[in-house]
C-alpha cells in the first residue's frame, strides 16, 4: 500500500490518568489522516458536496498495539483500498516517528449518499474517476 502520511504530536489533554493517549483520540487522528489523503484527490467533504454527495462513516475499527505518551510525535498513514461495494474504505496506521513502532491500525467504511440522502449503489462520473484515482495510487508500492 502506498500511504499518505502526516505528523501530529500527542498533546497533554490527549492522555489519560495512566499517561497513555486516550483511545478515542485515535479516531480524531484517523480523521486527520483521511483529510490529508482525500485532499490529494479532490475528495474533501466540501468537494464531495460540490459533486452532489456526502459520505458518512458506517463502520470503524481500531486495533491498539502500543500506547502513545504525551509529547510523542506520531505518523498517521492513510490509504484507500478498492471497495467490494459502492463505498469508501480507508486504512490507517499510526506509528511512533522515533523508531517507527506501530501504535494502532484501523479502518473506516463510508457509504455514499446524494444530497437528498439517497444511498447510491454504483459509482459513476466524476466521483468514480476521483475515487478510482485514489485507490489506484494507494495500490502502488
Amino acid at each position: 500500500m502506498r500511504w499518505i502520511e502526516r505528523e501530529e504530536r500527542v498533546r497533554f489533554n490527549e492522555v489519560d490518568e495512566w499517561e497513555m493517549a486516550w483511545h478515542g483520540h485515535y479516531v480524531a487522528w484517523f480523521e486527520a489522516g483521511r483529510f490529508s489523503l482525500l485532499e490529494h484527490f479532490y475528495l474533501l467533504p466540501r468537494q464531495m458536496v460540490e459533486l452532489g454527495y456526502i459520505a458518512p462513516v458506517i463502520n470503524l475499527t481500531c486495533e491498539y498495539k502500543h500506547p502513545a505518551a504525551c509529547g510523542d510525535v506520531i505518523i498517521i498513514r492513510t490509504g484507500a483500498i478498492k471497495p467490494d461495494i459502492a463505498a469508501l474504505i480507508c486504512k490507517f496506521e499510526i506509528l511512533l516517528k522515533d523508531g517507527g513502532k506501530l501504535l494502532a491500525r484501523g479502518e473506516t467504511r463510508q457509504v455514499l449518499l446524494t444530497k437528498d440522502r439517497t444511498m447510491i449503489y454504483q459509482l459513476t462520473g466524476e466521483l468514480e474517476k476521483r475515487i478510482t484515482a485514489m485507490v489506484e495510487y494507494c495500490a502502488g508500492e
Binding site: 461495494i85 457509504v111 439517497t118 444511498m119 447510491i120 454504483q122
Partner: protein, 94 residues
Amino acid sequence: MKDIVNNTAELCEYLKGLVIDTLRLDDVTKEEIENDAPLFGEGLGLDSIDALELVVALEKAFDVVIEDENVGKTAFASIVTLAAFIQAKYKDRE
C-alpha cells in the same frame, strides 16, 4: 442462470439462499423467509447497508445493476418483487 430466472419458484428459492449467504444470516433458514414478507425493516430486519451488499451479490450472480436506494426500495420489497425485478431485467435484454 437463465433457466433459474425463467422459473419463478426456483428463482425465489435461489434468492433466499443468496440473501442468507451474502448477509451471513446463520440463524435464518430458507423456509423462514416468506416470499412476500418485507425484507427490510419489520420483515427480515435488513437495513440499507445490507442492501448495498445484496446489490453486489446480485450483480455477480445475475449481471443486473441496481443504481441506487430508490430503485432498491422497489426491488428489495420482498423475495417476490426481487424475482420480478430480475426477470424484467432479463426480458429487457432479449
